[in-house]
Amino acid sequence: MYGTNPDSTYTAVGFHKAIADLWDYQPSYPYHIFYYDNYNFSSFQNQGIYAPWYYYFLSPGFQPIQRNTAPIPVGSTYDLDSVSTSGDDVEFVNVAVDDGTPVSFGPGMEELVPYKANVNVSCGGERFKVVIRFNLPQYSSSCCSAGNSIIKPGKDSKFELTQNPVYGYSYRFFPATSPPAAPDASPPLAVVFVRRKADGSGSLNTLRVVVGGGYQGGQSYSTPANIHLNCN
């Protein structure tokens, strides 16, 4: 202080600012965030105090956070860019043959369809059952009617659909309908009965599944997938 008078009392006015670095976090309950005092401000050795030099605060948990604005360094220019992502409406999950282990779907990019899967089937029997599970889009209000959903062998297929004598259908989507012995339909599924053509004709092994429906907003949706039936 400069230019003070004796016998006067002065009050110093200043501010204190905590400087700490985020170094750690605890990614499980109770979700603490740790800050470390790299500048040694919290160490008062002459008073016999050496700690704490870290602090932890409760965090609401780790979740995606989006900045309202990106940090803009002084003197720099700033350009904003964005993209939208569009995925296919229906997500095909897996396919199982005759209640065997389900096989996951993957992208069918090289076959120009959103999803594809390869499964092994027994071609010698009377028929086999194929169960296809899928997830409907979040705002779906209806699905799987005869007008928008279908299962069919590809052209020149070695396989054909065959009606199950007990259930009375060759394929059906659930839970759109409730025939006898309706399976657990969460997530939704389709059941199809298939057999190798008796005359041995055909050269291809693709089964095409199309799941369609309508949105709450009124638009329709449709997503196809290919299933390849490989004879054991």
Binding site: W23, D24, Y25, Q26, P27, S28, F34, Y36, D37, N38, Y39, N40, Q45, Y50, W53, F62, P64, S82, V83, S84, T85, S86, G87, D88, D89, E91, F105, G106, P107, M109, E110, E111, L112, V113, P114, Y115, C123, P137, Q138, Y139, S140, G154, K155, D156, S203, L204, N205, T206, R208, Y215, Q216, G217, G218, Q219, S220, Y221, S222, N226, N230, C231
Partner: protein
């Protein structure tokens, strides 16, 4: 004792603390569910149909595959290129196999009932934009994105648009012939492709 350097002390203390309290000093990683690579055009390429009068514009559209090989997607700028506010947008892509797929996205593409409008010039904003990572040799092999002759293509089209005033844009004159043509092409291609291959059974 005076700490001559905090950093000289931090490492051992941190290590002890980490072990004792179960703290994991690891960087937060982006979930694999939002990491994609761009599909190279020498594998499969993307075309955008010419739809004169379409109120939806596209820019920098790319085909993507998620790095866990679970799904594919499209990314780019999708915006209101018309003069009227838009409430709902439905896009579709048709593969050269003839397979037709509609696309889901944010805002007017979500399928939800909504009051908000996409104003002229405004882009559809993605709530969770994808992280696009480089297509390394390892990812190429993992995702089976082999080089060579392209396998085919996708055509991106505007299926329908509902405006704020309730009127609707559709373009059956473009969509139907493209769809019909690609279905026929897909059948020919499939037959040719498989008849020249040795089948394992």
């Amino acid at each position: 004792m005076k700490f001559s350097s905090v950093s000289s002390l931090l490492s051992p203390v941190l290590l002890a603390f980490s072990v004792g309290a179960g703290i994991q000093a690891q960087p937060q990683t982006q979930p694999e569910e939002n990491r994609y690579v761009v599909v190279p055009p020498d594998f499969v390429f993307l075309l955008i149909a010419s739809q004169p009068g379409s109120p939806i514009g596209f820019k920098d559209m790319k085909l993507l595959v998620r790095i866990d090989n679970q799904r594919s997607a499209l990314s780019g700028k999708i915006y209101n290129a018309g003069t009227k506010p838009i409430r709902y947008v439905s896009l579709m892509k048709v593969g050269s196999s003839g397979a037709v797929s509609t696309l889901r996205g944010s805002g007017p593409m979500s399928g939800a009932v909504r009051n908000e409008l996409l104003m002229p010039g405004e882009e559809i904003q993605d709530e969770t934009p994808p992280e696009i990572v480089p297509l390394t040799k390892e990812l190429k092999e993992k995702l089976n994105l082999r080089d060579g002759r392209p396998k085919g293509f996708f055509v991106l089209m505007v299926n329908s648009v509902v405006f704020g005033d309730g009127t609707k844009y559709t373009d059956e004159k473009t969509i139907t012939p493209i769809q019909t043509y690609l279905e026929a092409l897909g059948e020919k291609f499939e037959t040719m492709e498989y008849s020249t291959k040795k089948r394992p059974y």
